[in-house]
Subunit: 229 residues, 2 copies
């Protein structure tokens, strides 16, 4: 297909697609002449992945390029490739093999997991723990005792679904699965918060910002004090 069709299919402006081509996020089409190139389904999907990484995961174009590069040209081992991909994900940390991450170390020890300061995710965890602590909501033992096992169960499932027969597919699954399911998990938690709060305290759905207060009546569901507690 021609580039104009790519624009139609993806909804991404032509100038932006050209920008992605320039920046090396999108491979060039197969040139059929000096001013003509052929694009395929792979390009359509690639653009979708680019937008997913930048808009939904929140990566910069530069970081998205790093992630895509790892998928296209993986390291020797899947484990290394995966580690490199994590380094490109937010929050951005400057990895230092010699640094110590006391909060992350303590957490990992309590979980019985290996502490290795070379893992970018260790520095990311340290930063997240420090941020929560500074805001007055540290990750205490009780909370860790809940978060740890549930998150681990999720991770075990993720790994169990990794395609083992195809190395390329495995890399893609590992990298994109880790990155793209994060927004899903986060959104599910936010919705669960709202649902639990509504059921527990019997709160009505919120009014739309400019709208009326009586709109809460539109929901026949859980209003005043429906359930437990």
């Amino acid at each position: 297909m021609r580039i104009s069709e790519l624009v139609e299919r993806t909804g991404v402006p032509l100038a932006t697609i050209k920008y992605y081509l320039r920046e090396g996020l999108l491979p060039a089409g197969e040139a059929t002449a000096a001013t003509r190139a052929e694009y395929g389904e792979a390009h359509v999907r690639r653009i979708a992945v680019i937008r997913a990484l930048t808009e939904t995961v929140g990566l910069s174009v530069q970081k998205a390029r790093e992630v895509l590069r790892l998928i296209d040209q993986p390291r020797d081992s899947l484990f290394d490739t995966f580690g490199q991909a994590i380094e490109a994900l937010p929050p951005e940390v400057t990895p230092e093999a010699t640094a110590d991450y006391p909060r992350a170390r303590a957490v990992l020890e309590k979980l019985g997991q290996l502490y290795d300061p070379r893992f970018a995710a260790v520095a990311q965890l340290e930063r997240a723990l420090a941020a929560a602590e500074a805001a007055g909501i540290p990750l205490d033992d009780a909370r860790l005792a809940v978060y740890g096992p549930h998150i681990r169960a999720i991770a075990e499932f993720d790994i169990s679904r990794m395609p083992l027969d195809d190395a390329t597919a495995a890399v893609e699954y590992a990298v994109l699965g880790t990155a793209l399911h994060e927004p899903v998990l986060v959104a599910l938690r936010r919705l669960a918060h709202q649902d639990v709060a509504a059921r527990r305290y019997g709160v009505a759905p919120p009014a739309t910002p400019p709208a009326s207060r009586k709109s809460a009546r539109k929901s026949p569901r859980a209003r005043s004090r429906p359930k437990g507690s």
Copy 2:
């Protein structure tokens, strides 16, 4: 304390603190004279929260201001306040009460949760689901059956720890807890992935980027099970 001490305590440059003051993220100190003001511990903590929201959660300064404003001046109900806060969190969505979010709706129905398109998190979930789908890793039923209950258990714990006696503390806990524990959960999942993969497939810790390849030998762990293909 004076502003210079605020600079020392937080490590944030003076010009940046003035910028936060200008932008309304940080309340002004108590003016003691035309060119003198007194700052307190609340300001120190506030700056830490600002940095946590911008650097770790990834909010823009504008969105951080919205979140902080909700903490300072909550809506009528905690539920409304919380909903508004979620709207400021990434991924950024333009909420439309009339829109339909089919993927999110299907997921919520399977989970037995209320679907209300006015919840910003519904639009956020829709976007996350669409992104994963476009990248070739949709949230199928099996995965949802795992993610859903575990995330819900986490959310239940979160809510159970909400302070009930103090309305101000409750708002702060709800808003900051939702936002600031997300990076923690995400980092824990990434680390769990690495740990599970290492245990299951016996992979050595990764070499530091510029370093030697033989560092893989440093792990005494087994190298069994050459993975697929």
